[in-house]
C-alpha cells in the first residue's frame, strides 16, 4: 500500500514540481508570482489539441508548436504587460497576473467551449503489475519527462550563456547589469522559460485529468509545492512538488478522496504560517 502511494504520489508530484519550478524560476529573477501560470498550463495543452485537430499535425509537431507558442506568449506577456507595470506596487502586479489568467481561461471557454476535450497520449494508460505495484506506462513517462526536463534546466543554468546570465540576475541584478547583461532581456527570457515549464506540465497532465478551461486550478498545487520548497530554491521546488504529490495521495487514501484538495490547500496555509521559508528556502532580508 505504502509503495503504491509513493508511486502514484510521485507521478502527481512530478507535474507539481514542474509547475513549482515555473513559479520559482520566474520569481527569483523578477520578484513576480505569476498567478496566471496555471492557466498558461491549460493554454499550452489546448494548443496541442488545436495543432492536432485543426492543423492536422502529428502529435510531436503539435507539441513542438505548442512549446514554441507558449514561450512566445510568455515573452509577449512580459513585454506588453509586466514591463510597463515594472514600477507599480506589488498589488497591481498581482492583480495583473490574475487578470492574465482570467483572460486565458475565459478566452478558452469562449472559443473552445466549456466541455472537456480528449487529448491523446503516446503511451497506453493500461496498467501493468511489477513486484506487487500497479504501474501505468503513461505515468512513468510523466516522471521520466519531468526528470529529463529538470536535468536539462540545471545543465542549461550551469553551462550555457543563456543560463549563466539568468543565474547572474538571480544573484545580483545590479552586478549583472554592470557586467553587460541586459536585465530586461533576462526577464523576458525567464517569462518564456517559466511558460515552457508550465507548458510541459500542462501537456503531460492533460491526458491524466481532463482538459477543460478550468484545468488551471492545478496552478494552486504548484504554488503549494513552491511554498513548501521555500519559493526561492529550485531543488526545493522539486522536492516540494514530490512531497505534495505523496502527501496528497496519502490523504486521498487514508482520509477521503474528497478531502484531498483541502489537505493540500491547508498544507499551503500551514506552511506559509509556520515555515515561511519552506523546507529548503533561505531566509531573505527584507528591505523596509
Amino acid at each position: 500500500m505504502l509503495g503504491q502511494i509513493l508511486v502514484s504520489g510521485i507521478t502527481a508530484g512530478a507535474v507539481y514540481a514542474l509547475v513549482a519550478l515555473g513559479f520559482v524560476v520566474l520569481h527569483r529573477g523578477t520578484r513576480i508570482v505569476h498567478f496566471g501560470l496555471g492557466d498558461q498550463l491549460t493554454l499550452s495543452a489546448y494548443l496541442v489539441v488545436i495543432g492536432q485537430v485543426y492543423l492536422d499535425l502529428p502529435f510531436a509537431a503539435a507539441v513542438a508548436l505548442s512549446l514554441l507558442l507558449s514561450a512566445g506568449f510568455g515573452v509577449l506577456v512580459e513585454r506588453a504587460i509586466m514591463r510597463p507595470l515594472r514600477a507599480s506596487p506589488l498589488l497591481v502586479m498581482v492583480i495583473a497576473t490574475l487578470a492574465i489568467g482570467a483572460a486565458i481561461r475565459e478566452g478558452l471557454r469562449a472559443s473552445m467551449g466549456p466541455l472537456p476535450w480528449p487529448i491523446p497520449f503516446l503511451l497506453t494508460p493500461a496498467p501493468f503489475t511489477l513486484g506487487g505495484l500497479v504501474l501505468v506506462p503513461a505515468n512513468l513517462a510523466v516522471v521520466g519527462v519531468a526528470a529529463v526536463v529538470v536535468l536539462a534546466l540545471f545543465l542549461a543554468l550551469r553551462f550555457t550563456r543563456f543560463g549563466r546570465a539568468i543565474v547572474a540576475v538571480y544573484e545580483n541584478p545590479t552586478g549583472a547589469a554592470i557586467v553587460g547583461i541586459s536585465v530586461p532581456a533576462v526577464h523576458a527570457r525567464l517569462w518564456g522559460l517559466a511558460s515552457v515549464l508550465a507548458a510541459i506540465a500542462g501537456i503531460m497532465v492533460a491526458p491524466l485529468i481532463t482538459l477543460s478551461p478550468d484545468m488551471g486550478s492545478i496552478g494552486i498545487k504548484g504554488f503549494a509545492a513552491a511554498v513548501l520548497g521555500g519559493f526561492n530554491s529550485l531543488p526545493g521546488a522539486i522536492a516540494g512538488g514530490v512531497l505534495l504529490g505523496v502527501v496528497e495521495t496519502a490523504a486521498g487514501v487514508y482520509i477521503s478522496s474528497a478531502m484531498k484538495d483541502v489537505v493540500s490547500y491547508a498544507l499551503l496555509i500551514g506552511c506559509v504560517l509556520l515555515l515561511p521559508h519552506g523546507l529548503f528556502g533561505r531566509a531573505e532580508a527584507r528591505k523596509v
Binding site: L90, A99, G101, R109, D261, V262, L273
Partner: protein, 305 residues
C-alpha cells in the same frame, strides 16, 4: 463630485422602481448587492493595501449562513443576516491576525487557499450546505410580509448599498481609515507612529468580511438558489476586477465597477460569452493605462473641465 449630482442620483434611485420595469429594478438591485460586496474589498485592498483573494468566500459565509439560519431555526433575515455577517467578520479578523506573518504574495496565496478550502467545504459538507447540487434560499419575511418581488428586494438592498458607499467615504477621513492608509503606505512607518499594525490589518479584514457577507446574504435573497460554483477563487478575482476597474481609492468606485459589470453583459446580448474575456482584457488595459480606475479617469476629466 458636487453634492447636487449625488442628491440627483439618490433621487433617481428612489424613483426608479416606480417607473422602470421589474427586470431593470432587479438589475439595479444586483448592482447594489455587488456594490456592498466590493465595498468590503475596497476597504481591505484599496484603503489598507492588503491583497485579499478571499472575498467570495466571505460572501459565501453570508449567503449560506443567513439562508441556513432561516432554514434550520426559522431565524428572520433581519436577525440572520447581521448574525452571519458578524461571524464572517470574526473569521475575517482571525484571518487578518494570521496575516501578521505573511505579506504580499504570500498573503495573496493564503487568501486564495482559504477561499478554495471554503468552496471545497461547501461542496463536500453536503449535510450542512446542500453540496454541489446547491441550496434553496427561503424568502425573507418582515412582519408577516414576504419579500420576494424585485421591488421589495430593491427597497431592502439599495439602502444597504448607499450605506456601504457612505461608509467607504467617511472611513477615508476617519481615524481608522487614515490608519489603514498608513498601513498601505508603509507598515514600518505605521508602527513607528504608534499604529498597532496587526490589530488594524485584522480590522480591515474584519470590515471587509462583514460587508462581503452582508452583500452575500443580499445576493442569496435575490438569486433564491445558491450554487457553490458561485463562490470560488474565480469569483474573488472577478470582484477584484470590479474594484480595480471602478477605482480602488474612489468611494464611488465599487458602485461604478458594479454598474459596468452588471449592465454591460446585459446590453451585449449575443456577445455574452465573450464578456468575461473582454472584462479581463479591460482590467489589464485599465492597470497599464489608468491605474486609478475608471472612477479616477472620470475624476480627472472632471478636474480638467
Amino acid at each position: 463630485m458636487p453634492r447636487a449630482l449625488l442628491l440627483l442620483a439618490l433621487a433617481g434611485l428612489v424613483l426608479l422602481p416606480f417607473q422602470a420595469p421589474s427586470h431593470i429594478t432587479y438589475l439595479v438591485a444586483l448592482i447594489g448587492t455587488t456594490t456592498v460586496i466590493v465595498a468590503g474589498l475596497a476597504i481591505v485592498v484599496g484603503l489598507a493595501g492588503q491583497i485579499s483573494i478571499a472575498q467570495a468566500g466571505f460572501a459565501a459565509i453570508g449567503a449560506y449562513g443567513s439562508a441556513q439560519l432561516a432554514n434550520w431555526y426559522g431565524l428572520p433575515y433581519w436577525l440572520g443576516l447581521p448574525a452571519a455577517a458578524l461571524v464572517a467578520a470574526l473569521v475575517g479578523y482571525l484571518f487578518g491576525l494570521l496575516s501578521l506573518r505573511v505579506a504580499d504574495h504570500y498573503l495573496a496565496l493564503t487568501s486564495m487557499a482559504f477561499c478554495a478550502i471554503l468552496q471545497l467545504l461547501l461542496v463536500h459538507l453536503e449535510d450542512w450546505t446542500g453540496g454541489a447540487v446547491g441550496l434553496a434560499v427561503p424568502p425573507a419575511t418582515l412582519g408577516g410580509f414576504t419579500l420576494d418581488k424585485p421591488v421589495q428586494l430593491y427597497a431592502f438592498i439599495m439602502p444597504c448599498a448607499v450605506f456601504a458607499t457612505w461608509l467607504l467615504n467617511s472611513l477615508r477621513h476617519a481615524k481608522l481609515g487614515r490608519a489603514f492608509a498608513a498601513l498601505r503606505m508603509s507598515e514600518v512607518g505605521a508602527a513607528a507612529v504608534g499604529i498597532p499594525v496587526l490589530h488594524h490589518k485584522a480590522l480591515a479584514f474584519a470590515l471587509s468580511a462583514f460587508l462581503g457577507a452582508w452583500g452575500g446574504g443580499l445576493f442569496a435573497l435575490q438569486t433564491t438558489y445558491l450554487d457553490p460554483a458561485q463562490f470560488g477563487i474565480l469569483e474573488s478575482v472577478r470582484l477584484i476586477a470590479i474594484a480595480v476597474i471602478g477605482g480602488l481609492l474612489n468611494p464611488l468606485g465599487p458602485a461604478i465597477g458594479a454598474t459596468i459589470f452588471v449592465l454591460l453583459p446585459e446590453m451585449m446580448g449575443g456577445f455574452g460569452r465573450y464578456m468575461t474575456l473582454v472584462f479581463s482584457l479591460a482590467l489589464l488595459a485599465c492597470l497599464v493605462l489608468a491605474p486609478a480606475g475608471l472612477g479616477g479617469v472620470v475624476h480627472r476629466l472632471w478636474k480638467r473641465a
